[in-house]
């Protein structure tokens, strides 16, 4: 396999190097890529969509159709991980461990054993015992709200500064994953259950595709946000800007839900009891 790999890599690499000789120089403002299609996006974005961030306007409007499917790809991955990994919950699998909240003492319950503990004073512990670190838990606890606030800002301010639905959604998703890493998976599941994260992704993508379909129903082409001027204030140009915002919110929801969903499935191997 190693020789075969080297031969293939050599051949492909030689081909790519051969092509690179005829590339326009790196960073050349006169290259075809900079002159043919893209100038219009930069010159007209404010005029046509009222969005100064050209990346956002291309992403959400000019090539919004791509972006819709890109969000669908994420959704596919979430459903795929769920389909492959999720194991329906089974009762009493193996020994369990509980920790007394006040004293920090850990109890081990044998397989099939029944206990009558006042559950408010005890909490379940992962079978591979993870150290219970007070500082990490508290610091993360205080950080997470600010991280989430920042995520919302990134989604909402994507029109004027770097950001948008994907970036904000990832930040929001990461905040839940951080909760799960710093505490344990159950804490994260209590905050955002399986059903919630699993419904967030189709609902998010549906907001995107639904906005497009709404334009179609209103008599314009699919994803032509001008149509929204009939429903929102501010004329056809501002309607494009609002349409992009709507779509970005959908993207953010879908990305956040799916990230958390994939993480839960992968980390717990589909059992949703413990992981990492």
């Amino acid at each position: 396999m190693k020789t075969l790999g080297l031969i293939i890599v050599g051949l492909v690499g030689a081909g790519l190097v051969y092509a690179t000789i005829d590339f326009p120089p790196f960073g050349d403002p006169k290259s075809p890529a900079s002159l043919h299609v893209s100038p219009r996006y930069l010159e007209k974005t404010v005029e046509e969509t009222a969005v100064p961030n050209a990346v956002t306007s291309v992403l959400g409007d000019y090539r919004g159709f791509d972006t819709m499917f890109e969000t669908t790809v994420i959704f596919c991955a979430g459903v795929a991980c769920f389909l492959l990994l999720r194991i329906p919950r089974r009762r009493s699998s193996g020994p369990r461990q509980y920790r007394h909240r006040l004293t920090g003492l850990t109890f081990r319950i044998k397989e099939g054993g029944e206990i009558f503990l006042p559950l408010r004073e005890f909490e379940p512990v992962d079978s591979i015992w993870t150290p219970h670190d007070f500082i990490i838990e508290k610091v993360c606890r205080y950080l997470i709200p600010f991280i989430q606030l920042f995520g919302l800002y990134v989604i909402a301010h994507g029109h004027h500064s770097p950001g948008g639905g994907f970036q904000g959604g990832v930040i929001l998703g990461a905040s839940i994953i951080l909760l799960s890493v710093s505490h344990n998976l159950r804490t994260a599941l209590n905050r955002m259950g399986e059903k919630i994260s699993a419904l967030f992704s189709p609902v998010g993508v549906f907001i995107f595709a639904g906005t497009g379909a709404l334009c179609l129903v209103l008599g314009y082409r699919f994803l032509d946000y001008q149509a929204l001027a009939a429903l929102l204030p501010g004329g056809p140009i501002m309607a494009r800007s609002h349409g992009i915002l709507l779509v970005e919110v959908g993207v953010g929801m879908a990305v956040m839900g799916t990230m958390v969903w994939i993480f839960k499935n992968l980390a717990s191997r589909g059992r949703y009891d413990e992981g990492l």
Partner: protein, 131 residues
């Protein structure tokens, strides 16, 4: 000689992406461990992303957010002042795709591990042959 050196300096980003891509491709073909192959796959996809982003660069240009505000709103925009936004948009898509592929590949790898209790390809093939 000087021409070759010029060529190398003029296009350094492109050489880097080729190197990265070949590392990824080699890992996918030659490595024995399935997770290493998945890592190789990710490197491979990242190399393509580097290539695309490199095509968007313009020397002396800034990020593609048009300067705006109430006083400068009506000035004509010169495309040469801002880098090309299109490759960035495309690569946002490619990043998402590579994340999705990575997630699915890892999920399948977990399934493989469930069945064979190993991720070394030769050990798995041996188990299959014994059956």
């Amino acid at each position: 000689m000087e021409a070759v050196l010029n060529l190398i300096i003029e296009k350094y980003n492109y050489w880097i992406y080729i190197t990265l891509m070949m590392i990824g491709l080699y890992a996918m073909i030659a490595k024995n461990n399935l997770v290493k192959k998945i890592v190789g796959m990710n490197i491979f996809q990242t190399a393509v992303i580097l290539f695309y982003v490199s095509t968007g660069v313009k020397k002396g240009a800034t990020i593609p957010i048009i300067e705006h505000g109430h006083d400068v709103a009506h000035q004509a925009v010169r495309a040469a002042d801002y880098i090309n936004p299109l490759p960035h948009v495309l690569m946002l898509t490619a990043i998402v795709v590579s994340v999705a592929t990575l997630g699915v590949a890892l999920a399948i790898a977990i399934k493989v591990y469930h069945r064979y209790q190993t991720l070394e390809e030769d050990e798995i093939l041996e188990q299959i042959r014994e059956l």
